[in-house]
Symmetry: C2
Subunit: 336 residues, 2 copies
DNA sequence: CCTAGACATGTTGACGTTAACAAGCTAGCG
DNA sequence: CGCTAGCTTGTTAACGTCAACATGTCTAGG
């Protein structure tokens, strides 16, 4: 069994001062004599004092703790955002509490649910598609500040997200500008708002340019699904330009095209979305839409802390723009 | 400012019972009359009661909280392990506290340090190369149970890790068994114990088979570094088999070989390490060593909880074996 | 020499929860 | 009818910290 660690009282006894003085030293307050401070510091070191954050949280009514709800950390975007949130929170003096939603077979709800039912966090950042919360039958406690990192506009929480629409637009326009007569789209799962946003923006961009809108192709974000769809696409010589909704699917697509002997970008141009580190090392190096995850994470934490501090808010959605990174997987269509 | 939520006292007042009875209901204790229980439950619902975990932690001297120290979540392995630890901890009723080590320019030490200086976690799982803790000048508080997920044997904490040596051995042997006269190695950074383990095992395996040991090639885990090294390798016709210390570097290596017109696996066979999801979609699909991250995470949490419970331990390192996944990037060498 | 004010230090109580103990009630049994 | 056993419910105190207030000490200025 764990024994309790030394408390303020132990330090106070050793240093021959009151607990309050120890508290003042621990919190770096002024109004403590230098000699006393040194004595207390020495005593702290001797007994190995560490403030008990539970007592602090109880006293202050704040946990300095942000809960992050996430389905799983497998996907690139989630991971990057989570990491960024962690960095930003730490820099702001908050700790991160991971609230993973377990798989159905492990009792989907329980984990996050029990955790949320307790007061242990000051606020929550939701990194999953918000509507999945409903499916999982998770009710967020009222009065707990929440920020959603997802472009769903259906929730009246503050929202921070990459500008999906702008990203899909510049990807599509890049291909059209190269001279392709239209652009095919390998979309993400329809349950994802990000995927839906990208798809809709792709459609709108084509429509605005007066280009025909080819049938939508659907994957599930995985490279394997990109490959599966790619096998079909590769057989169709009419396809000269594809915009994949993420880099992973683009990777599978590239493989399928290689297998079918279709050259990239000679026969087919491919654009991805994310700009994951390795996209520059795909074969050929992938032209893609770069997301600025650290910025998204930073803004999300910022928004939550703002929410924590004040009484009333008119929260305006924060949209972080993307940037097109042109590499070697796109080129003008072969003539004729 | 955040107002404090309703407490046991509020519920008790509304239900017309004592606080203790509310506590009993909240903790699902027996010895509460059904009628009373229902009344309390109703009152809880009405006021929106959520137990205050800080008060609980203070009372019980336990946080049900595991701190995870991690450098950054960018690398595939770290992420997967972190995710697995999160799932396992949640299943065991523990929450995860992320303790990111910030970059040098943000004040490397501070974040994790202050967090660790507070009692807020019952134990710690270290996901970084343990020796980096020294570099960051982080001192783990004494008496705090620690589990290290890293094969460094230099620390007397319980250790859980993938069996790096076995993984590197089966990778090397696979290539030799195909008939290659020797195997080149694209290693990870020398600061990494995992990289060192893999390298040493590669050397030993070659030596055991009486094969010459080619000069070591060094990358930094990134696909870009794999590409850089690959450019040199590709120029050397003597190279017919390469074992890369992770899949990312293998990806860069593949690109370099494609660029030089060396066919894979015709001219050069390549094996990776990790089996990240997309490895099956590389071009060509990558033969690689699969790590079982969920298992590693599960065992790490298990080890930590054991550590938490008992007084004294003789901790034996836990080694999780790997598995070779044969795909299309390896073949016998061209004859002649 | 006296007093106001600045500063150092101490005392008290409350944050919300629950273990330990105490008290009250009912049922069963000789 | 009296006594005990078993159950429900209540009271008290303590976990560690720190704001608020109280007290004590020293210095400067009239």
């Amino acid at each position: 069994m764990r024994r309790r660690g030394p408390s303020i009282a132990d330090v106070a006894r050793l240093a021959g001062v009151s607990g309050q003085t120890v508290s003042r030293v621990a919190n770096d307050r002024p109004n403590v004599d230098t000699t006393t401070r040194d004595r207390v510091l020495a005593a702290m070191r001797e007994v190995g004092y560490r403030p008990n954050s539970a007592a602090r949280a109880l006293r202050n009514g704040q946990f300095r703790n942000i809960g992050v709800i996430v389905f799983e950390l497998s996907s690139f975007g989630n991971t990057r955002t989570f990491n960024a949130v962690g960095q930003a929170a730490t820099a702001a003096g908050y700790a991160i509490n991971l609230i993973p939603l377990l798989d159905a077979d492990q009792g989907k709800v329980t984990g996050a649910f029990t955790r949320l039912q307790e007061q242990a966090v000051d606020g929550i950042i939701i990194l999953i598609e918000a509507h999945q919360l409903d499916e999982a039958e998770i009710h967020l406690p009222e009065g707990l500040p929440v920020v959603v990192v997802d472009s769903s506009a259906h929730y009246d929480y503050p929202i921070v997200d990459t500008d999906q629409a702008q990203g899909a637009r510049i990807a599509t326009e890049h291909l059209l500008d190269l001279g392709h007569s239209t652009v095919w789209h390998l979309g993400g799962p329809p349950t994802s708002f990000a995927a839906t946003r990208r798809r809709r923006s792709w459609e709108e961009t084509l429509a605005a340019r007066g280009c025909p809108v080819p049938p939508l192709l659907v994957g599930d974000w995985s490279a394997a699904s990109g490959y599966a769809v790619g096998r079909q696409l590769a057989a169709d010589p009419a396809v000269t330009a594809v915009f994949a909704a993420n880099d992973e699917m683009a990777l599978g697509l590239l493989r399928a095209l290689h297998e079918e002997g279709r050259s990239v970008p000679g026969d087919v141009s491919v654009v991805g979305f994310d700009d994951q580190e390795s996209a520059a090392q795909f074969w050929p190096p992938l032209t893609t839409v770069r997301q600025f995850f650290p910025e998204v994470g930073r803004r999300a934490v910022e928004a939550l802390i703002a929410e924590l501090g004040a009484e009333e808010h008119h929260h305006r959605p924060v949209s972080v723009p993307t940037e097109l990174v042109i590499r070697s997987s796109t080129a003008p269509p072969r003539v004729g």
